[in-house]
């Protein structure tokens, strides 16, 4: 049994690991609709998944000024960018392993927060809204 550690499960943007990340989370959602009818016996609902969507969030210490401007530019462009995730390893834990966990798709950068606090490392949070299916 091989357990994957958090540092080896990384969010990728444009096929590259988002640098200096401390945490990431991915949400896959099936939107359910209650399709029970009068024909349904009993009191319970019967759900049908009518659509799916996904999103991803990452926290980083991404403090390089060029990277900060790039984030703002990506946000302003309002265009989907390649986003995915994979098991990673190797140099700086950034080498995609193309393992069973690899997923890729396109997503909009729909939220970002850059925290510039006194006596703290600059911290950045990014939220991506997936658009279209994952492969």
């Amino acid at each position: 049994m091989s357990k994957i550690k958090g540092q080896n499960f990384r969010l990728l943007q444009n096929a590259a690991a988002i640098p200096e990340a401390t945490n990431c989370s991915i949400t896959l959602q099936g939107n359910a609709e209650d399709t029970s009818t009068k024909d349904t016996e009993g009191l319970f609902t019967e759900e049908t998944i009518t659509s799916t969507q996904w999103s991803a969030q990452v926290d980083t210490y991404q403090s390089d000024t060029t990277a900060l401007r790039s984030i703002i530019s990506t946000f302003i462009a309002a265009q989907a960018v390649p986003v995915g995730w994979d098991q990673t390893g190797g140099a700086q834990n950034r080498v995609a392993q193309n393992a069973n966990f690899k997923r890729s798709g396109n997503a909009l950068l729909n939220d970002f927060t850059m925290n510039f606090n006194d006596r703290e490392t600059v911290a950045v949070s990014l939220q991506f809204q997936g658009t279209g299916a994952l492969s």
Binding site: L68, S70, I72, L108, F116
Partner: protein, 150 residues
Amino acid sequence: MQKGQYIRLLVSTAANPLTVVAAAKQMALHGSAQTEDSSSKDTTGNALEYEVTGQSYDITGSGLVLTPNDTLLTGAVGLNDFESWLQDQVLNWKICVMEGTNNRTVVETIASGQGKLTNLQIQAQNKQNATYNYTINGYGAIVPGADAGE
């Protein structure tokens, strides 16, 4: 890694030149996009497709309340200035990497734009420094790097 004290907010108005916020403690730039499900019957599969239909941003921060004659207010802005901006007044802002004495020499601009002060709160807890928190709502687009309205 870059430390927060070296990245500061500077503000100018039509009447006042660009000056740094004195004795700042925290500052954050937050952008948010309004997205809309744009998938239709023409969309193959079950996955929803989204597009951005609106964008907004705000700058929030906090600082220490200084007495009006504090030398740190020389060439800088403080609570009194924020109070005067709490009206329908366009502020020009820049977020810059700073260095030098009191971290007040601009090295590099990260982003700039225009905004309006929408919220100002003063906190004065017993046995603690008095502080204030502010929110500047973006007015128009963020400009990465380049100046806006200067």
